[in-house]
Amino acid sequence: MTDNIIQIDHLYKSYGSVRAVQDISFCVKRGELFAFLGINGAGKSTTIHILCGQLAQDSGTVLIDGKDIAHDRKEILRTLGVVFQNSVLDAALTVRDNLKSRAALYGLSGKAFQARLDELKETLDFADLLDRPLVRLSGGQRRRIDIARALLSRPHILILDEPTTGLDPQTRKMLWGVVSRLRKEEGMTVFLTTHYMEEAADADYVVLIDAGKIVAKGTPLELKNSYAGDYVTLYHADEEKVRALGVPYERIRDALRLSLRNTEEATQLILSHPDLFRDYEITKGKLDDVFLAVTGKRLEERT
């Protein structure tokens, strides 16, 4: 069994003159939380569509668990669960009818379906919603049913396509709780596309995409170390002395925040001026700093 559950090599896809995906290559390791980060229109959805066999690539290969999506589509689809940004279940039908009709697509019916439904309603806490039409559910309740649908077939890979857009903090917390439990208990691989940096910050590996091309990839730490500097937040300091250091800084509510190229430079500075650095903290730059540094663009702010 290969260590890489997803392997994409030299993927290209164009829509007429628009080159949506250009020479994308990356791999996702079994059981990891993988984040695919980019602004809207960067090429994330096109890549997902190709990954799920909904769209044919112009060239390149997509291997999932060693199988080629171009040849083993049916087999691969059994191992994928997808949560779309917007619910694609049937609003007029009850939760039970929705899940029953989708389970049948994987050959799950009768007692087998009931057993899986019992498991999922426990995991996602929707026992009281089973006989309610989807249209009557809140956004958060609906999202739980979307996740249940994605998990019906016990997928090896859970694809979350911007899953928290428009959700309230409580529902976001619930979603990440479920994802974390699935990873821990079932060793599920999670492929997350998002334009929210705080979601990507918890990932094991991050790929940044812009204008159809991969612009950076690595663990969050590698990315921050490579593309974002460190911040030293200094409390109760004399601003005149800080200015004399010749280091760029900004004034925040009750402190001064100095920008440095890396941790080493920050450490040197602190050791050289122990009288000045008495009450301070060092923080790494965030992924949106990385994204800004790499693309010159800002990721969307959470509203």
Binding site: K74, S101, Y106
Partner: protein
């Protein structure tokens, strides 16, 4: 098979739970019924009466049975096609809402998904048209009953065939639709136009020869004529039994589109069935080809 049956069940539930789609499907028969109540019924009464030889008095029940037979056949022949279109709009709505993406993310073949839309639309059309037929039979029993058991069975057979024709025709046209606006536009055109094209709103015999020839090339025309024959034939027999000369009865049957001609050649009932069946087979072939081409393209 589990997936196919489950998808068909899902499609049926969605249609009958969507009040908008359900009532839209009933608009055309309701409009037709309204037109008959408002004036078409009286017009046809007058046509029948004016065609009769002077001094011949017919029982009111027979006249009502003839006009009722025409109303019933018109409603049923139009409904078989318009209801099928409405039922099949589900496939377009699934594209609009994105549900089709979810269905296609499963290991089930796109052919199964298309076949489930087809079967659900056909069953929906049959359910509604059979219910409509039951209401129509009750209406005929009240105004003037002349039907035999064979007439009723043949009318049901006509509904089976016409519903299949409507389902496959709508499957092909809806295959190309992608938005709610397109659904509305096609729905309106079909609801308003199909009744004229098949001779349900006004007899084809009342149109110009050129138009008659054009309409005689459309298979739906023969479906309408089959239903006319089976809904009115026994009433025409009773008319002849009342002493109306046979040539006049035949003239009335022609005027009501019970007999049709194709560029001057009379079309018998077996040929009408053959045309309808051939059209259905051809359209099914086209639909299967379209689905296969789409899959290949993707």
């Amino acid at each position: 098979m589990t997936a196919f049956l489950s998808l068909t069940e899902r499609n049926l539930k969605l249609f009958f739970r969507d009040k908008g789609m359900f009532f839209t499907a009933l608009i055309t028969p309701a409009v037709l019924l309204g037109l008959y109540v408002a004036f078409l019924g009286d017009v046809y009464h007058e046509i029948f009466l004016s065609s009769l030889p002077e001094g011949l008095e017919l029982p009111q029940k027979l006249l009502d049975g003839l006009v009722g037979g025409q109303l019933v056949s018109s409603i049923l022949s139009v409904s078989c096609v318009t209801v099928a279109f409405c039922a099949n709009f589900l496939m377009v709505q699934d594209r609009v809402t994105g549900s089709i993406r979810d269905l296609r993310l499963s290991p089930v073949s796109p052919h199964v998904v298309s076949a489930a839309y087809f079967l659900a639309a056909y069953l929906t059309t049959l359910i509604i048209c059979t219910a409509a037929m039951a209401v129509c039979l009750i209406y005929l029993a009240i105004v003037g009953w002349y039907l035999t058991a064979a007439d009723i069975l043949l009318m049901f057979a006509d509904i089976l065939l016409l519903s299949l024709f409507g389902t496959v025709l709508s499957s092909i046209i809806n295959f190309f639709l992608r938005s709610q606006g397109q659904i509305s536009a096609v729905g309106t055109i079909i609801s308003a136009g199909y009744g004229f094209l098949c001779g349900a709103y006004m007899p084809i015999s009342s149109l110009s020869e050129g138009l008659r020839n054009v309409i005689s090339c459309l298979p739906g025309t023969y479906g309408n004529s089959l239903l006319r024959n089976h809904a009115m034939r026994s009433a025409f027999d009773a008319l002849a039994a009342e002493g109306v000369p046979q040539p006049l009865v035949e003239g009335l049957m022609e005027g009501m589109d019970c007999t049709l001609s194709f560029f001057g050649h009379a079309v018998s009932i077996p040929v009408m069935y053959a045309v309808l069946c051939a059209a259905i087979a051809l359209l099914i072939g086209v639909y299967v080809l379209l689905v296969a081409l789409l899959q290949k393209k993707k």
